[in-house]
Each structure stands twice: as structure tokens, then as C-alpha cells.
């Protein structure tokens, strides 16, 4: 443990770890030293000069090394003639800090005055008004009157788009460089910088597209003035009009803690709507950050296209009907189908929803199917990372392996956390057939061919440099994804990973174990509850008499087709929108968005977290679990349908992994470091303090001391590229055509057109140029797509993003034809 030192700040005795900065030690003691440039998650730079304080240090006799005492036997103090910055000076034994002395206060006041000389003072029209550190500090420390002539202020542009998501008001910027430093130090995307110098210094981004980073929104939280605003929220509302509700981001398996800010909105006919998404501190999950997808892709729930009435098919058409009639039709069909009922649900749903769906299926002996083409969730239940795992504590002695996943695109906050662990000294091994951003921080990069995933991981337990590092490291975590893999392949990969961890003793402990980079937020939850994906979904469907589809659009995604219209099962679809699947359904049940109700999700790290209702539900909709309960009632089965928390209690009684847990437990919090909130937003930014629950890390079989038996790795016949054909490889992009992203207009530029990526030599072989549109045929479908060039992939493959309108869930043969002639 680091040595503790005792010092005095404003007369108060404080004990803090040696080396901690004065500003942080004061914070611990409940003393808020004002700061602008300092941020507890970044290196101190001491540039704004807001935190000026007086610091005295005990005088030491050079010869004896002992403290010099005054006439009263007290250590003599030496104060520097200059004020010092609390943000750059580490604490030391016997130090005396004065933050409120006349001299210190004069220093702080002068800094505020200097800043205001070039500040436009346009608080009444500023988005930050009400949560602005500059405003707060001016009130607390500033001069009463301006001595600077208003006419002599420099006037600068107020609407500079740094990219399509973030705007800069040059007049309001106080040059604290927090945004630049965040992008450089924390995010690793150094796409912001200062141009010019002195008073002409301005923030700029020269990247193309502008401000090219998926973490850009965080800069608006830490900007201590209203200089950076999001295109989404700017001019949207005043912070003090907003209500806040805690939630969990449902965009990916990281499970970032967020806060929805809501307000009654005239534009929405006086309804309460979400105005913005803010990070909520959870140091073990997302610290104080979220990615731009989480921040901006939330508008879908407001869509005018939402279903708000149950529908049933009559004479080939879907017509509106009552809940009673719709659920009766569904219930009757399910009762009739008995074991030929298939419940197909995705990890978009909460645990409570999935639990009820499973209970319904079990009643008639039906089958539950997880809508996913990635396997291994049963293995993460066994050897997933141990309770207490925290990327934030990984560093020297830890090894992190990332295989078949592009974390920057698939789980941005994990990318950020893994990067930081690597910077703290963790060994990072990145294995992927193509270059991914994370490689920059890797100690070892393993480049394999698509199809060689399993062997690559198995090599980790053989001889060799990388294997030695892996085996010998104190802690090891493997994150596996599904890049280039279908269900079979990913299952085999997960098994290989699980075995590698188990064989080297890296299971059942914190900071050890397996993590699935799932495609949906609650895939892990679905596995825990008993849902399993099916290799051949179509044949399951073809054999079914009734299918209950919830939170999935298999017909829209091209995963299911109606082959024989006469022998089509009875289809019930439960969703927010009239999806392709809904269009062919016999019954459509309008569900609530997760922002409108409560529930729990399980993250990829197997953290069980609670989300709360942020806005009132759209009239005419019901929570998924409630709908299922009503359908069940029609079948003569009683399932809890009124309260998510009661369902959870039933689950806790029923399922050992949830044993002893309840909603109250999930809502527990403890103090976190750094301390955010506490009124002085200038310290941590506008990130929300976590008052609504840090969640609970589930323990796993290995962690409970059970002996785990792992399955053998199944041989998968990997497809290899063939002469004159391309092997289409599924990859995952952050911004895709998923329903949530597509409804976020702001992100539409970033999604771009449907594309494939080819190696330059492949492009040449097929006579295709970068930026050209070609016809891609795969799986019997032809689509027009744009061609991008990627030099890091092998010549025989074509990367095809998932959820971009092309039906791809595993490696498939494909061919491309240039459109050139047609174009001319």
C-alpha cells in the first residue's frame, strides 16, 4: 500500500496517499479547490491557474535531514513567494495548504477576471448556463465588476462545427485544453488540437470526417464552459429544467451507466421526452464516459412510427384490435402448438422479459431460441470473469487477449478501458485477421487467417513467447468476439478460449476469465436465463406451428424466409415498430421502449444492473414482460405481469445465480473515486454522480469453487477463399442500420452507405476501384454496395458489415460484379 502522509488544508488535518495531488486530497477532505484545466482522470497541466493556493512545506536541515523547529517546537514552514497550483503539487508530510487566505483568494479572483476579459458573458443563451463551472466560479471567486472594456473584446465565431456532432463556440472557450487532452490521453484519438498561439489559440479538428472519434460527446461533459455543445442538445433546453433518471445503455454489452435527462416538450405535444443522455459514474464499468452511439442513438423511442395498438391479421391484412383479442389469438395458437411453439427473443430484452417468455414456453413444452449467431454464453456462465473484475485495476501482471473483435467498433468503452490497462502495464494481445485500432496499444499482435481462430487461441497454451507470457501472467482475461464467425465458429472459439483460461488457472478469480463481446446488450442475460441460439433457425421455423418473436426482426434481417406459404406457422411479433417480421405476422403486440419501464440487464462482464423508467410509456403499449403475462393468462397460466421487481424476486427464488439479490441490492451505491457531482461540476465534468445503483457482479461456477468441466472444442470446417470467388466475412460496425442507430438522424452521416471492404489486389483482380459501387451476391441475394479498400485484409475476403442490409451471419461465399457498364 502506498505510504500515507498527513497534511493540513485550511486548518483541517487530512491524511492522503503520498503523491496524491493537493487538489485531490482537498477533495477527499471535503474542500473544493476551484479548477478549470485539471480533471482527475487526466495528467495535470497547471495551465488555467485557477487552483492557486499557498503551500508551506516544513523546512529541513540540509545536513541532518531533520525538520527545523521554531521556538514553540513546531516545524518551521517555508512558503514559496509565488502562489502554487494545487493541481500540480503532490502532497507531502507536514505540508500546510491555504486555499482561502487573502493571497490565495486574490490569485483565484485574478484568474477569473483574466478569463472573463475574453469571455462573451452570454450566459442567458448558453447551453451550459446552470451547470457551468465558469459561471459558478465567477459567482464564488470572481470580481464583481468588469474592468475590461466590453468593446475591446475579441469577437469570434460562435458556430464552428468541429464535426457533425460537436459544435464549438470560439468566444466561450477558455483554452483549458481538457477536450484536446481527453481525446489524446483518454480516448487515444488525437483529433482535436490548438491552432495558432497566445490569445489567438483556438480549438480545431483537421480530421476527415471532422472530430473523428466515437468518444467525442464526452468532451462536452468536461468542457468547463459552454464552448462545446452537441448538435443534439444545443439550444435544446436549460439544464435546470431537466429531470434525471438513471438507466443503462442498451447499445452494446458494456452496460454503461447513464442518466436520461427529460423534460416536458411543447414540440412533442407536451409529452415528457428525453433531451439528452449523460454518463453516470460507475468506475468499474464506464468510469465517467460513454460513447457517441450511447449518447446520440436514443431517439427511436420518440418515433412517430411506433406501434401503439395490437394488430391481428384478417383477410390478409393487419387490423387494429384490442389487447384482449390480440393476446387471445396468440394464446390460443400457442396452446395449440404445444411443443411446436418456438419463442424467439433477443438480448434486446431485459431479464424479466426473457424470464416470462421462457416460463411461457416451458408451460407448453415449447422451445426458446436466442436470436443471435454467436455462441459461448454457457461458457461465460462457467468461466466468465470473476466477481470483482475491474479493468480499472488491471495493469502490470495482467494479460488481456482480444480475439476476433474490433472493440473500438463493437464495445467502445471496453476499448478505452483495455487501452488504459495496457498503458498501465498490462500485456495486451490482439488477435485479428485485419488491423484494428486497438493494436496500437498491443504488446503482441497476432494476425491469423479467417478460419484459424481456434488454433490461434490453442497456441496460447503451447510453447512460445506469447504463450509463456499468457501462462505466467498473474491475471488473464480473454475477450472473444464474432468477427468472421457464425454460431458454430464462435462456439468453437469460445470453447478454446475457456479451455486456455482454465488450463492456465485463469478462472474463478477477479480480473480473470472470459468475456463475450456480444452483439446485444443483454445477450449474456438471455444465456443465463436459458435461451440458446440455433444453428439452423430456418429449419426450426419450418417445423414450428407457432412462433413468438420478441425484440427481433429475423425477416427484416434476412435470417428467416417463408418458404411455403401454405404451411406457415402462426406468427406473433412483439416489437416497437412495424418491422418486416411484423408485416407478415398474424398478431402484432406493441411493446414499450426500455426507456419507458424498469428492468435489469446483464453486461458482458456479467454485471447485473438495473434501469429505471425515464419517460411515461407511449399510450397503448405494454412492457414485454406484461404482454407475455397477458398472453400466458389466455393460455390459463399465471405469470407475474405487473411489476418487474416482483418478477425479479421470482427469478431470484428460482435461479441460483440470482439468489439473494433484489432490486434494492442493485440500487446500492458506495462512494467512488474520483468524487463527482457534489455541486462543483468543474471537477469531474457534468457526469452524473451514481445515486441509483452500481449493480452486482454475478459470480460464476468457477468462482464458487465448483469444478468446471468444459466441453471439447468442436472441429469446424472453416471456409477458405476460393479462386475467383470471395469469402464474405461478417464484421461489426458501431454505426450500422440497427433500429436505434438509424433513427438517430445525427449519426446518419457516420453510418454511410452499405459497403464491403476488399484488399487492393482483390479489387484489381475484379477490376473494381475504391469508391465504386458493385453488385454483391451472397446467399442468393444481390445488393448494390460501395467498395472500400483495406490493405490489411487478405486478398480472398470481402468484409461485410452486419446489420447494414446484407444478410450475413457467418462466412459465406460471395461474388462481385462491377456496375461500370450499367453506370455508363
Amino acid at each position: 500500500m502506498t505510504k500515507q502522509v498527513t497534511l493540513t488544508i485550511d486548518g483541517k488535518q487530512v491524511t492522503a496517499p503520498e503523491g496524491m495531488l493537493v487538489v485531490d486530497a482537498a477533495k477527499l477532505a471535503g474542500i473544493d479547490i476551484p479548477v478549470f484545466c485539471y480533471h482527475p482522470k487526466m495528467e495535470p497541466v497547471g495551465m488555467c491557474r485557477m487552483c492557486l493556493v499557498e503551500i508551506g512545506r516544513p523546512m529541513v536541515d540540509r545536513n541532518t535531514g531533520k525538520a527545523i523547529l521554531d521556538e514553540n517546537g513546531q516545524p518551521k514552514l517555508q512558503f514559496m513567494p509565488k502562489l502554487e497550483t494545487a493541481c500540480t503539487n503532490p502532497v507531502s508530510e507536514g505540508m500546510v495548504v491555504l486555499t482561502q487566505s487573502e493571497k490565495a483568494k486574490a490569485g483565484q479572483k485574478s484568474t477569473v477576471e483574466f478569463l472573463l476579459t475574453s469571455h462573451p458573458l452570454d450566459c442567458p443563451i448558453c447551453d451550459k448556463g446552470g451547470e457551468c463551472p465558469l459561471q459558478n466560479l465567477t459567482m464564488a471567486h470572481g470580481p464583481g465588476q468588469s474592468r475590461f472594456l466590453y468593446d475591446e473584446k475579441i469577437h469570434l465565431a460562435k458556430n464552428v462545427p468541429l464535426g457533425d456532432l460537436i459544435f464549438l463556440d470560439q468566444e466561450r472557450c477558455i483554452q483549458c485544453a481538457r477536450c484536446i487532452r481527453f481525446q489524446d490521453e483518454v480516448a487515444g484519438d488525437a483529433v482535436l488540437g490548438f491552432v495558432e498561439r497566445g490569445r489567438s489559440m483556438q480549438i480545431a479538428s483537421l480530421s476527415d470526417p471532422g472530430f473523428d472519434s466515437v468518444f467525442s460527446g464526452n468532451t462536452t461533459d468536461i468542457c468547463p464552459v459552454g464552448a462545446l455543445t452537441t448538435a443534439d442538445f444545443r439550444f435544446g433546453a436549460r439544464p435546470w429544467e431537466l429531470d434525471a433518471s438513471a438507466s443503462i445503455c442498451a447499445q452494446c454489452p458494456v452496460g454503461c451507466n447513464i442518466t436520461f435527462n427529460t423534460r416536458r416538450e411543447a414540440k412533442a405535444d407536451g409529452k415528457i421526452v428525453i433531451k439528452r443522455v449523460m454518463p453516470r459514474q460507475n468506475e468499474e464499468v464506464n468510469e465517467t464516459w460513454i460513447c457517441d452511439k450511447g449518447r446520440f442513438a436514443y431517439h427511436y423511442a420518440e418515433s412517430k412510427e411506433r406501434l401503439n395498438k395490437p394488430l391481428v391479421r384478417k383477410d390478409e391484412k393487419l387490423i387494429k384490435t384490442s389487447w384482449e383479442a390480440a393476446t387471445k389469438a396468440a394464446g390460443d395458437a400457442f396452446t395449440k402448438a404445444k411443443k411446436n411453439l418456438v419463442v424467439l427473443a433477443s438480448g434486446r430484452l431485459s431479464n424479466e422479459d426473457l424470464f416470462n417468455l421462457k416460463a411461457l414456453a416451458d408451460q407448453v413444452g415449447g422451445k426458446t431460441v436466442l436470436y443471435s449467431n454467436m455462441g459461448g454464453g454457457d461458457l461465460t456462465s462457467l468461466v466468465g470473469v470473476g466477481a470483482g473484475t475491474n479493468f480499472g485495476t488491471m495493469g502490470q501482471g495482467s494479460t488481456i487477449v482480444v480475439v476476433a473483435s474490433d472493440l473500438y467498433e463493437e464495445a467502445p468503452i471496453w476499448y478505452l478501458r483495455v487501452k488504459q490497462a495496457a498503458e498501465r502495464g498490462a500485456t495486451l494481445i490482439v488477435a485479428n485477421p485485419r488491423e484494428t485500432k486497438l493494436e496500437r496499444y498491443a504488446n503482441f499482435v497476432i494476425r491469423y487467417s479467417y478460419g484459424d481462430e481456434v488454433r490461434t487461441i490453442q497456441d496460447l497454451t503451447k510453447k512460445g513467447k506469447v504463450a509463456d507470457v499468457f501462462a505466467r501472467s498473474e491475471n488473464a482475461v480473454i475477450l472473444f468476439g464474432s468477427e468472421g464467425l457464425g454460431l458454430e465458429g464462435s462456439t468453437a472459439l469460445a470453447t478454446a478460449c475457456a479451455r486456455a483460461l482454465n488450463d492456465t488457472g485463469h478462472v474463478g478469480k477477479p480480473n480473470n476469465g472470459l468475456i463475450g463481446v456480444w452483439q446485444r446488450a443483454n445477450d449474456q442475460g438471455a444465456w443465463e436465463i436459458g435461451f440458446r441460439p440455433e444453428e439452423n433457425l430456418q429449419s426450426v421455423f419450418d417445423k414450428a406451428d407457432a412462433i413468438y418473436i420478441a425484440g427481433a426482426d429475423p425477416f427484416g434481417d434476412g435470417m428467416l424466409k417463408i418458404k411455403d406459404a401454405r404451411r406457415k406457422p402462426f406468427i406473433v411479433v412483439q416489437d416497437l415498430f412495424e418491422t418486416e417480421s411484423a408485416k407478415i405476422a398474424d398478431v402484432v403486440l406493441p411493446a414499450q421502449a426500455y426507456t419507458e419501464r424498469e428492468g435489469t440487464l446483464i453486461s458482458g462482464e456479467r454485471r447485473l444492473q438495473r434501469f429505471y423508467a425515464a419517460v411515461p410509456p407511449l399510450e397503448g403499449t405494454k412492457a414485454d414482460f406484461a404482454i407475455t403475462s397477458q398472453v400466458a393468462r389466455q393460455m390459463g397460466v399465471i405469470l407475474e405481469g405487473t411489476s418487474a421487481s416482483v418478477i425479479f424476486e421470482i427469478m431470484a427464488a428460482d435461479m441460483p445465480i440470482f439468489s439473494g439479490l433484489n432490486y434494492a441490492k442493485l440500487a446500492e451505491v458506495k462512494e467512488q473515486w474520483p468524487i463527482v457531482g457534489r455541486g462543483d461540476l468543474y471537477y469531474g465534468g457534468t457526469t452524473y454522480e451514481n445515486k441509483d445503483g452500481l449493480g452486482v457482479h454475478l459470480s460464476n461456477a468457477a468462482g464458487c469453487g465448483e469444478k468446471v468441466t468444459l466441453p471439447r472444442v468442436q472441429k469446424v470446417a472453416a471456409l477458405r477463399p476460393k479462386e475467383n470467388k470471395l469469402l464474405a466475412i461478417p464484421i461489426t460496425k458501431l454505426y450500422d442500420h440497427g433500429v436505434t442507430v438509424q433513427s438517430a438522424e445525427l449519426l446518419s452521416h457516420r453510418i454511410g452507405e452499405t459497403f464491403i471492404a476488399l484488399h487492393p489486389s482483390a479489387a484489381e483482380k475484379f477490376g473494381i476501384a475504391a469508391g465504386e459501387r458493385v453488385k454483391l451476391s451472397l446467399d442468393g441475394v444481390s445488393e448494390d454496395v460501395l467498395v472500400k479498400i483495406d490493405e490489411t485484409i487478405s486478398a480472398g475476403v470481402a468484409l461485410v458489415p452486419r446489420s447494414m442490409g446484407l444478410p450475413i451471419n457467418e462466412p459465406t461465399e460471395a461474388s462481385v460484379k462491377t456496375n461500370k457498364k450499367a453506370a455508363r
Binding site: P44, V45, G46, M47, C48, R49, M50, L52, P81, K82, L83, T85, T88, G107, S110, T111, E113, F114, L115, T117, S118, R147, F148, L149, E152, I154, I174, Q175, F194, E196, R197, G198, R199, S200, M201
Partner: protein, 412 residues
């Protein structure tokens, strides 16, 4: 007396390697590498009383002894940024006596265990950099730079690096940032370069003139060096004399020479025979010294000049006569510092800008005593709060100008 530093004024073609060798060139370096331990070199330099010529006057040997020997590699960076208005001495050394300077770099490198040294030149010294590159190549050829020098295990490479127009890069930590390929903005100190310098490694930064003193100190010894100058400031100094004198230029003189000697004996007196009104002994960063007979007879060394309420700094003596109004002078200095403020810290960035608006107003004739008071107040408000000395420098002439020459500012 013959020159110690500006030896090209005595010896023609001393920039040629053979001529330099004939005049004892590289013997000092050979001696250090083959016969002295690094620590011994440092001790000699400490004993000589040599103080840094870049402005701060910090004892050179003491600075070297701070180098952190737990962290490697070490670097030496020669500060050839020379951008203080009124300073033009390093330039003459590098143009006239480049080999002695480079030999000094080599000796310093050996003393602190550096195998690579950079000469950071201001971007305007483009031609000097090309010239030094040539000299470095010749030294490599002649075996004074490269691997296993003089048959020992010691190796050294010297590289030049051109800045691109930024006074702040003369500040040592800004220089290191610049050398690392970043914007030249100062770092917070501590840690000092001796612990965390170039690329985070222990680094010694010394001024060109400081380094050029090293070969003769090694050759003739510390005691010889101390025979020149004063007890406080040993040795010789190049005084860059500019402003309203008849013969501006560089003058290599022992510390302790008086202002009067410099201005009248060497500088030929003031133009048009006017009296000296004020002296800025350290370029634009100076405090004004109100000139009178007593002041003119004051010895120039670090300690004595301080008794006049100013610093000797890099000894760039700007002479101002009674035809010049001090408010015009500080108009120049304020605009200089506003232009050169790197922008990193608030008081300097905003303060220099604010001062420039105020002095513009005063210069425009719309002068009010309230504005003078405000200017003085703003300058004082900046003091002791800036991140690096540049911001502090910008206030010196303003505060001392208004306080010491009130008649040039205030309306009766």
C-alpha cells in the same frame, strides 16, 4: 587581452578545423574523454564558477550534478534559440567560432553521460544550421564525433534542430516540447529537465555561450577562469549592446565592467551625444534602470545589477536616450510578449492581450491616468501567477516603466 569566446576576431579562419586544431582545438575534449571521469569534469566546471549565460545565471556545474543517474539515456540540448530582443551573441559565436561551441557541447555531453546532443536553433538561423551541419560532418570525419572516440568506449553524435519562429522555445521545457515535435509550450516544473527532459529522459539544457566557455575552462583550469570577472560572476561575458548607441555590437568583457565603460568606451557613446535615460540590461524582459552617474559606474555582474532593481539576464543591454518616451518602449515590449505568449496559461495569454489594448489606448492619445493605473494593476496582477517566466517577463518593463518614469505616462 585576447578573446576567450569571440576568438575569430583574433584568429582568422578559426572556423576551419585545421586552423582550430592548430590553436589547441579539441585538446580539451580529448583530455576530458581520455583522462577525466565525467564527475571530474563537472567538478572543474563547478569550481570555475561558470554560470549559465542564457539568462538565469544558474551555476552550470551544479546544474549538471542534478542529472538523474538512475534513468538513461541522457541528452544534452544546446539552447541556440536566441530570441530575446536585444540579444545577438550566440549567433556571432556560431557564425565565427562554431568549433569551440561544438567542442563545448561535446564536453558537456561527456560530463553528463550523453551520447546524443541536439543544437536547437531558432528557425531564422537556417543558414547557421546548415553551416553547423557542415562543421559537425567535418568533426565526424576527423574523429571528434562518432563511435569510440579517441579509442575509448565513449560515443557521441550531435544533431541540429531548427525551430520555426517562437520566442517561447528559448524556455528550456518549451524547447524540449518543440524538439519532441509538439507545440512549444512550457511544461510544469518540477520535474526539471535534469530528471525528466527530452523524451522524458534526464537532460541538460545549456546556452551556446555557456557551452563555448567550456573548452578554455578545461584547458586552462578553474582558477584561471576565476581570475576574470568578479567574485559573484566569474569569467567573461559577451554583452550585446544595442539601442541608441553609436557603435552597437557584441563586446566580450569580464564581468564587473561598468555600464559606462560598455556604453562609452566600447559603444562609442550615445547617438547625437544625448544623455542615457534608461538602460534595459536584459533585453525586452528587463526592468528599466533609471540611468544616472552612479548607475553608469555600476559594475555589471549578476549580484550588483540586482541592487539596481533589475536583472542582468543575458546581458543584452539596450540603451535608451532622452529622445525616447518610455510609454513607446513598453508599447513595443508589450506587443512583443503578446505576440510571443504561447497561450498555455491564463494570466499571460489574457494579461498580455489586455495590456496591449490598454497601451494602444494610451498611445492613441486618449490617455487617462485611470488607464495608466489599470495597466500597472493588470501587470502586477499577472505577476507570480504565470506558468513560466515569459508571462512574468512581460510585466517587468511595464511595472518599472510606469513606476520609475511616471512623467512619461501621466497627465499632470
Amino acid at each position: 587581452m585576447s578573446y576567450v569566446l569571440l576568438r575569430h576576431r583574433d584568429i582568422a579562419d578559426i572556423d576551419q578545423i585545421d586552423v582550430y586544431e592548430k590553436n589547441g582545438g579539441f585538446e580539451a575534449f580529448r583530455q576530458t574523454v581520455t583522462r577525466m571521469k565525467p564527475g571530474e569534469v563537472t567538478d572543474v566546471v563547478k569550481a570555475s564558477g561558470l554560470r549559465g549565460r542564457g539568462g538565469a545565471g544558474f551555476p552550470t556545474g551544479v546544474k549538471w550534478s542534478f542529472i538523474d543517474n538512475k534513468s538513461w539515456p541522457h541528452y544534452v540540448v544546446a539552447n541556440a534559440d536566441e530570441s530575446e530582443p536585444g540579444t545577438f551573441k550566440d549567433r556571432e559565436i556560431m557564425e565565427g567560432n562554431p568549433l569551440q561551441f561544438l567542442e563545448g557541447v561535446a564536453i558537456a555531453s561527456y560530463a553528463v553521460g550523453a551520447n546524443a546532443a541536439y543544437v536547437y536553433l531558432r528557425g531564422e538561423f537556417w543558414q547557421i544550421a546548415e553551416f553547423l551541419d557542415k562543421k559537425i560532418a567535418e568533426m565526424e570525419q576527423a574523429g571528434y564525433l562518432g563511435d569510440k572516440l579517441f579509442g575509448t568506449d565513449y560515443s557521441l553524435k550531435i544533431y541540429t534542430h531548427l525551430g520555426a519562429g517562437a520566442y517561447i522555445c528559448g524556455e528550456e521545457t518549451a524547447m524540449l516540447e518543440s524538439l519532441e515535435g509538439k507545440r512549444g509550450q512550457p511544461r510544469i516544473r518540477p520535474p526539471f529537465p535534469a530528471v525528466h527532459g527530452l523524451y522524458g529522459k534526464p537532460t541538460v539544457v545549456n546556452n551556446v555561450e555557456t557551452l563555448t566557455n567550456l573548452p578554455p575552462i578545461i584547458t586552462h583550469g578553474a582558477d584561471w577562469y576565476k581570475t576574470m570577472g568578479t567574485a559573484d560572476s566569474a569569467g567573461v561575458k559577451i554583452f550585446s549592446l544595442s539601442g541608441r548607441v553609436r557603435k552597437p555590437g557584441n563586446f566580450e568583457l569580464p564581468f564587473g565592467t561598468t555600464f559606462r565603460q560598455l556604453i562609452y568606451e566600447y559603444g562609442g557613446g550615445v547617438q547625437d551625444g544625448r544623455p542615457v535615460k534608461a538602460i534595459m540590461p536584459a533585453g525586452a524582459s528587463s526592468s528599466f534602470i533609471v540611468a544616472d552617474d552612479k548607475v553608469l559606474d555600476t559594475q555589471m555582474d549578476y549580484a550588483t545589477v540586482r541592487t539596481l532593481g533589475a536583472d542582468l539576464g543575458s546581458a543584452s543591454v539596450i540603451v535608451i536616450d532622452d529622445t525616447v518616451s518610455i510609454d513607446w518602449v513598453i508599447n513595443k515590449t508589450i506587443h512583443f510578449f503578446k505576440h510571443e505568449s504561447c497561450g498555455k496559461c491564463t494570466p499571460c495569454r489574457e494579461g498580455t492581450y489586455w495590456m496591449s489594448r490598454l497601451i494602444d489606448r494610451l498611445q492613441d492619445g486618449a490617455r487617462s491616468n485611470a488607464d495608466v493605473d489599470l495597466l500597472l494593476n493588470v501587470a502586477k496582477q499577472m505577476q507570480n501567477k504565470c506558468l513560466c517566466p515569459l508571462g512574468e517577463f512581460s510585466t517587468m518593463a511595464v511595472v518599472t516603466g510606469i513606476e520609475r518614469f511616471p512623467q512619461d505616462f501621466r497627465k499632470a
